[in-house]
Symmetry: C2
Subunit: 337 residues, 2 copies
């Protein structure tokens, strides 16, 4: 870790407690003006990077930034948060996190809670079930910068950082074609979310570009869990002409598919190839490691943070930036014949 | 989901926008007193569960509760947060999450950020690298309820919810003895954290109770990652008399051990048994599913929330409650001969 000066170093130098230093920097009324002055001077001398509270006193800002995600425990989202923190923390910003569990009403509550906590900006990924945009407009009215990452709504004045899902779908499908797969099925999500629609479009385009006809019965929309993957692949195997590969829009669904295929004694990858999407950590841990599309979430988080920083730099200028990142295909055992 | 009245229902009933309803409930100055009155009355009539902001206006509380964990993407912690949310959300509380990345300075910043955001309480698991307690005392001085879960410091006036780690270590080790394992090694963590010390004590007691001598060279302290598990197990295999089982204080370390054992062509579970700790989701997904100790984190979160609620119910009474939950052994393939 960095060897930056901490409040403990200042406390030691002045022979007072760290709590007193913190309170002095925090402008606590219990601390005398003389002590405050002493602490501030020592902090400056020791090249102490003023924390957000001290900064807040100067700037009238809280230096808290709110991040809203559907679930904190999906690696994709926690890695984005890591990226945001890595970018903002050294600048004295502090990240406060809320999760929506994909509920629009919780999303509204989250936004109210964060505005209530006086955040300087909100960086978020829209919940699957969100249909309204009132609550986003409310944030903009309050002049709080709003940045969407991964899942977005099209709103004037809102910057977005997304991944090229079309390209991800295209590359995954092309890889399966290159492996000699002839009958490639696609397990997709709800198309009211652009990301799933775009992955499907990439899949479709790759097939067309390689002269393979799209078969309607090979495309199934499912939830994003293991059980859904088991059920969908069972359905595919019951077809008169079952597929010989699956490109899934979700790693969890792909895992369910692999489990079901094994139950039927189908050998992966020799008889059947599977590719997932998201590069969840477990895909690497599997004995049969899973090919998947990596969305460089840490990079996405860093980029969202940078876009936010540009916006706060000059609050008179409204920036509307659309950043689209490129995905990477992680080729592993589940798809290499 | 529940069919509770939302701000949209109120908006529809009054033929105004949801944003206006939200602002009215939020006491926004842009909204006329007449509209506010109308919204409040309609909300009451429709049995609308007032959101935290409305409640805050009445009580002077923010109805935000802060939760601090080392990492949000460890299933154990995200499941605890789920438990806390499940308990508090229906009561109109909102959960704001911060992560420390095990850094004491970040933990201090987190606490300041949450106090700055006017939270009504802080529920947290102490960072591995925390040595001071000043910042906790600062919270108590501010009369903000503080509850520790899983990892704690002994502080007067602070309630704690922990798991019986001794029992977890004991059960895991006894299970290995019951499987006929004779030379059981233990991969542990840093003993400055009670949880690791207690798991080790449970391991030791189980050996003693079954007449097995503790071998010093069978106990290795490691970091909590896969790489550490690989290295530690390599060391164990190089011993003149290598062990025939490992009980690890971490699932990640146990996974590293399994990978290394396989590299040496050692058959699990017939030649060697492995038991982890935490019941991380990947332990179930492995082709060779892993036996592990489940700490019922959702239950732990619910309990932490309940303890917090007892404390806010009557701020005149100082409650210091120590809740200890019992762990469950999840017996899977990696340890059943």
């Amino acid at each position: 870790m960095s060897e930056k000066t901490t409040i403990y170093d200042i406390a030691k130098a002045l022979n007072i407690t760290a709590a007193t230093v913190s309170r002095a920097l925090n402008n606590n009324p219990k601390i005398s003006a003389a002590t405050k002055k002493l602490v501030m001077e020592t902090a400056a001398k020791m090249n102490y990077k003023q924390n957000r509270l001290a900064l807040a006193l100067k700037s009238g800002k809280s230096n808290n930034v709110g991040v809203i995600v559907p679930y904190i425990d999906r690696n994709f989202f926690s890695a984005i948060i890591r990226g945001i923190e890595e970018e903002l923390y050294p600048l004295g910003y502090h990240v406060i996190i809320c999760q929506t569990h994909e509920q629009e009403s919780t999303e509204i509550d989250n936004i109210n809670a964060l505005l209530n906590a006086q955040v300087d900006g909100i960086l978020m990924s829209v919940s699957k079930l969100t249909t309204q945009t009132d609550h986003f407009e409310y944030v903009l009215e309050k002049n709080v910068p709003l940045v969407f990452f991964d899942r977005k709504k099209d709103l004037k004045g809102v910057s977005t950082v997304t991944i090229d899902d079309f390209e991800g779908g295209y590359r995954a499908t092309k890889h399966l074609i290159d492996q000699g797969c002839k009958r490639i099925a696609h397990l997709s999500g709800d198309w009211s979310l652009e990301i799933y629609k775009n992955r499907y479009e990439g899949y479709k385009k790759a097939l067309t570009d390689h002269g393979i006809a799209l078969k309607k019965e090979y495309v199934i929309k499912t939830k994003s869990d293991i059980r859904a993957g088991q059920k969908a692949s069972e359905k595919l195997l019951m077809l008169p002409e079952p597929p010989d590969a699956i490109f899934s829009s979700s790693d969890y669904v792909a895992l369910g598919a692999i489990q079901q295929l094994k139950k039927h004694g189908i050998k992966i990858p020799t008889e059947f190839c599977v590719v997932g999407f998201s590069n969840e950590p477990f895909t690497k841990f599997l004995e049969l490691s899973m090919t998947t599309v990596d969305q460089s979430p840490v990079e996405m988080g860093k980029m969202a943070a940078k876009v936010f920083l540009e916006q706060v730099k000059d609050s008179n200028v409204k920036i509307e930036k659309k950043v689209v990142l490129s995905p990477t295909l992680k080729i592993r055992m589940s798809s290499v014949k």
